[in-house]
Amino acid sequence: MIARDHDVAMDGYTQVLAALREDHCRRLRKYTPRPGTQFTTWLAVVARRLMLDYYRRRTGRPRSIDVERRAEHATRRRLEDLVAVELDPDRLTTATDMSPEAQIRLIERREALRESLEALDAPDLLLLALRFEDERSIRDIAAMLHLPTVFHVYRRLNAVLATLRQSLARRGVTDSEP
């Protein structure tokens, strides 16, 4: 595995360098310094995208991770389902286990949660996506949200979940019974 990865890595390295050199380093010459940004960050983005294109051409895999994830995780639950479990772990029963009335109630609860999620600010939605969809470590979440420490992530996550519970309560969802 290591040897194979090394060979792929060196092939990719060659391809990336060739792409950067093309047309008198046309891609590199497109770089425009912007206040507060680093050239190395920009170069990493460009090189990663070139490598991704090379890897996708080489393996024939779809370019979009979104497409892959939908294909590979066709039965994966939506964010509101994942958050619902976090808010109330007792609610693990599926719709097929319930009476028709309970199923309707479950649909109403999910709709209420969806509306509550849509009312969140962008950083809080991103926090939930990182935590529940991507299952990122708390340390990674702190970096991606530019929060100073992991404790800020824990506090923010608890606050967002409390906000969701309050929002659900305003929408009539307060008990654990369907």
């Binding site: 595995m1 194979r4 990865d5 792929v8 890595a9 060196m10 990719g12 390295y13 060659t14 990336v16 360098l17 950067l20 380093c25 590199l28 912007r34 206040p35 507060g36 940004t37 680093q38 050239f39 190395t40 960050t41 920009w42 170069l43 990493a44 983005v45 460009v46 090189a47 990663r48 995208r49 490598m51 890897y55 979009s64 991770i65 979104d66 994830r69 590979e72 939506r78 964010l79 509101e80 999620l117 600010d121 962008a122 950083p123 939605l125 991103l126 939930l128 996506a129 990182l130 969809e133 991507d134 299952e135 990122r136 470590s137 340390r139 990674d140 970096a143 991606m144 949200l145 530019h146």
Partner: protein
């Protein structure tokens, strides 16, 4: 919450977000997009990891020799890439725990730049390292030699012939056990002119 994504983030937007230089309104707009786009979240995650792995000096330098910087960044990309996206790595859960390591990377000492000697590779020691893995590349990215040693220097065997005046690259990786390791930057040197290397 993920719907069909109409447009992914531009490179400049990713850079502004990663470097925390985007104005408040733009930052929120980018975060709103990231909340619904797994592709862009993955990109931001990967770039953050790469940027954090670079030495602080590299992050702050403004005057950079473009070919060397391009080579260094590309090497960082490709050596990081297969561990996250290679065959067999399919579970999102593989990324749940970030790599935990406090291993300091070794620092290549010689040869670097215009070399006086090119037959012996020397680097700084790393506390706790029990073995160092060294790789030597030519300018065409071919691996000329690789070896392992517990010492902090390695002498190239006679079978490795360096061409006087030619450019070569090398890096060293310190392994401290428990699967932890830290690799140096890729460094460049020019083999000495006008004299035998042996």
């Amino acid at each position: 919450m993920e719907g069909r994504v109409e447009r992914h983030l531009e490179a400049d937007e990713v850079v502004a977000y990663v470097d925390a230089s985007a104005p408040r309104g733009e930052r929120k707009r980018i975060q709103a997009h990231l909340a619904t786009c797994a592709d862009c979240r993955q990109e931001v995650h990967d770039i953050l990891g790469l940027v954090r792995a670079l030495p602080a000096k590299s992050r702050s330098q403004r005057r950079i020799w473009l070919p060397a910087a391009a080579a260094a960044a590309a090497i960082a990309i490709v050596f990081a890439w297969p561990r996250h996206h290679g065959p067999g790595v399919t579970s999102i859960g593989d990324h749940r725990q970030g790599e935990v390591t406090t291993t300091v990377a070794p620092r290549p000492l010689a040869p670097v730049g215009s070399a006086v000697r090119g037959d012996t590779l020397i680097w700084s020691s790393v506390p706790g390292a029990d073995v160092y893995a060294i790789r030597l590349f030519d300018a065409g990215s071919g691996v000329l030699w690789e070896g392992q040693t517990s010492d902090t220097l390695a002498t190239l065997p006679a079978t490795v012939g360096l061409r006087a005046g030619a450019t070569y690259y090398w890096r060293v990786e310190a392994r401290t056990g428990f699967g932890r390791s830290a690799a140096s930057d890729l460094v460049e040197f020019i083999a000495p002119n006008g004299r035998s290397l042996r």
